[in-house]
């Protein structure tokens, strides 16, 4: 239903067309490594599109149901609040999956077409993108349950940027020389999601190998964080007054 409402397929097709066009232009103007440009751009666009969906559709996913009171029609039936919340999250995850499947496959197709070699890391990258979008979605839902739309969007974007910047920031000599800032950033990384753990795009682009243990631990981290957020969000939603 959410898929139908959002007309997401239409948007994905437009993005797919843009991806094809830019990949073609890039391959014409890039000397030496057109496949890297193609996969870099393709994965970037895929990531950006599902991030946009998770933030801008996620912010109204539950709050709009409460404001428009459609939630009364559902929760007056034998449906628990947890099931309702989980259903909405799974519905949106379906949208992410379709988005990733279409744009991701298109990116891989152009990558291989332009001379790149298929690697299992490509699948991992796409899966981690999916996981990251899922985490962001629950972050947005959680914030929307305790705040208004504008603050939720601002905070969500801030958390997303911060969560990607935390690992590179910790690696800078500026932070290394200042243990106070370092521990502050580590505290941030402990509380907020650390998306650098799920970002393996560069390994694909530069065709580097990645230890499977690292992949498994990142996967575990992603699932754990996602589940934790779902539990917190469902607790808040369970105790929220729907008036």
């Amino acid at each position: 239903m959410e898929l139908y409402k959002s007309r997401i397929l239409f948007n994905v097709l437009i993005l797919g067309f843009i991806l094809s066009l830019i990949t073609y232009i890039a391959s014409e103007f890039t000397y030496g490594t057109p496949e890297r440009v193609a996969i870099d751009f393709g994965l970037g666009l895929t990531n950006l599109s599902i991030l946009g969906i998770s933030i801008f559709m996620g912010v109204t996913l539950i709050s709009q149901e409460i404001e428009s009171r459609t939630v009364y029609m559902i929760l007056s039936r034998p449906v628990s609040r947890f099931s309702f919340l989980l259903g909405r999250i799974l519905g949106m995850s379906g949208i992410f999956l379709i988005n990733i499947a279409i744009l991701g496959c298109l990116s891989c197709f152009y990558y291989i077409l332009l001379g790149g070699t298929f690697s299992s890391l490509l699948v991992w990258t796409l899966f981690f993108m999916f996981l990251e979008a899922g985490i962001m979605l629950v972050v947005v839902i959680l914030l929307s349950l305790i705040s208004n739309t504008i603050i939720t969007v601002i905070f969500s974007i801030t958390i997303y940027v911060g969560s990607h910047a935390i690992a590179p920031a910790l690696g800078t000599s500026f932070v290394k020389m200042r243990p106070g800032i370092g521990s502050l950033l580590n505290t941030y990384a402990f509380i907020f999601p650390d998306f650098s753990k799920l970002n393996i795009k560069n390994f694909v682009i530069y065709q580097q190998a990645l230890d499977s243990k690292l992949l498994i631990s990142s996967l575990g981290y992603g699932f754990f964080y996602f589940s934790l957020l779902v539990i917190i969000a469902s607790y808040i939603f369970k105790h929220k007054n729907l008036d």
């Binding site: 409402k5 009171r69 459609t70 009364y72 029609m73 007056s76 034998p78 628990s80 105790h239 729907l242």
Partner: protein, 299 residues
Amino acid sequence: MFEIQNISKTFQVDFWSKRFAALDSVSFKVRPGEIVGFLGANGAGKTTLLKIIMGFIKSDAGSVQFDPSLGKNQREIFSNLGYLPERPYFYPHLSGRDFLSYMGQLNNVVGAELAQQINKWAKVFSVDHALDRKVRGYSKGMLQRLGFASALLHDPKIIILDEPLSGLDPRGRKELKDVLKSLHAQGKTIFFSSHIVSDVEEICQSVVVLEGGKLLFEGSISNIIQEHIKPNYLLTTDYQGSVDLAFSSEKLPDGQTVMEVTPENKEKLINEIIKCGGSISGLSYLKPTLEEIVYNIRS
């Protein structure tokens, strides 16, 4: 079927303002098979209490106890409960049929049974002709009918309705009242809120009256009428003089006078009019309406 025990609820508009009591120790009982009207002016706290009954908001104090026959937990209880909120809201991109189908599935009504129930209730509520149209194109009355149909798809034992007759034209109101009567005849327990006293008087056996968040009256309509107002008589006469025994009098355009008199003074008044040369052209029993009684109780 369910019992409300000392429910209190306060609200605070903003951080600086004082909390105000929307409900103050409200208690009453709805028995199986009853059709109960829930009366109160706008802002009396009816919708707040219904939201508490449905678990949408939490009360500050008190509890709602459902009959064990409805189920042990909320899931089981809600399987046997049909609810229509005030101004029901829908997904506008769905057709009426899709919406009813979705609601039915949430109540575990599926397959041929669901299709049969949709067709049955759509016909009863006269929305069968519009079932394949998008809900966004429905009028207010049609939305109300669709919402009502969705509350009955799973054949609930208890039906809770918040202002079900609002937004309907006179014909629609009559049709819906007939449906309520027929559901009651089938043994369903019905609890519905309204601020229109005559609707409640027409179809309900019992009434719960709320005013300013406090329970004003709970019980059968016949009891409330007997308890609160002594029935008076209306006496029509051609006598033009003033009579102290009349409770009130009003001159009619045809020259006659209608006097309201208490049962105790009825005989004396008739005798006095006849003694003064007047004649009695009519005497009728004045049965007060529930509306008059509710206004009297409030004042």
